[in-house]
Assembly symmetry: C2
Amino acid sequence: MDEDMKYMQAAIDEAKLSLSEGGIPIGSVLVRDGVILSQGHNRRIQDNDPLMHAEINCIRNAGRIGRYGNTILYSTLMPCYLCAGAVVQFGIPKVVVGESSNFGGAEDFLQEKGVEVVNFGLPELEKMVADYIERHPEIWNEDIGTL
Amino acid sequence: MDEDMKYMQAAIDEAKLSLSEGGIPIGSVLVRDGVILSQGHNRRIQDNDPLMHAEINCIRNAGRIGRYGNTILYSTLMPCYLCAGAVVQFGIPKVVVGESSNFGGAEDFLQEKGVEVVNFGLPELEKMVADYIERHPEIWNEDIGTL
């Protein structure tokens, strides 16, 4: 749990970095054997790229690591189907999530496919995302495909 | 069908372009109301990017179009979970596929989520991909997460 919170804090720092850049505050970290392989954040706004969700950005930043069997993906928000699809396709066995109150994402799909999902339900993240959605509903809906 | 084959041919041309670049021969085209919005191909090798599957590259190349409700995604190969996840998350209602003999992908998942899937089963594509897999089994397995 302490280790998990250390990596989640790195994901939260990524979310805050995105916010400071004018982007959507979602962050992600990929960890293997206690080592952070990569970090990333949503870059839809920054890169004008509709697919650059935080988890996609993070996994991309790890480069071509080939095997994901012993990795854990941390994300400040429950992954959507795009990001959950990446997790399932590449065989990432565990996802640790900051919160899902603002977005239920693809939790059922992850669990059906045997991915372990741990959800911290962190009030700090729930508030940060809720505040963002209130200020930028159109960008949020664009990001989750519900415009 | 004739229209569909026209767009599929554009996807096949993308797959061949990738092969000529030293990449994995999978191509994709996004169409709306009879207009090609974007084309793309697998760029794992070219960009050293593990997430740059053909469909991801194609959807990215369309830019931030916001709404996908009246689009059709053409792909030379049955989409994997990553690419199917993008289709489901952004609400692309129909996928036209060149073949699935070399990779069954996430067809069940697409259909469960209400996406219409049309599969042409084109011998030309079956052979092109089978030949590639025979020559580059490691790159292929890396691309589909089964190294």
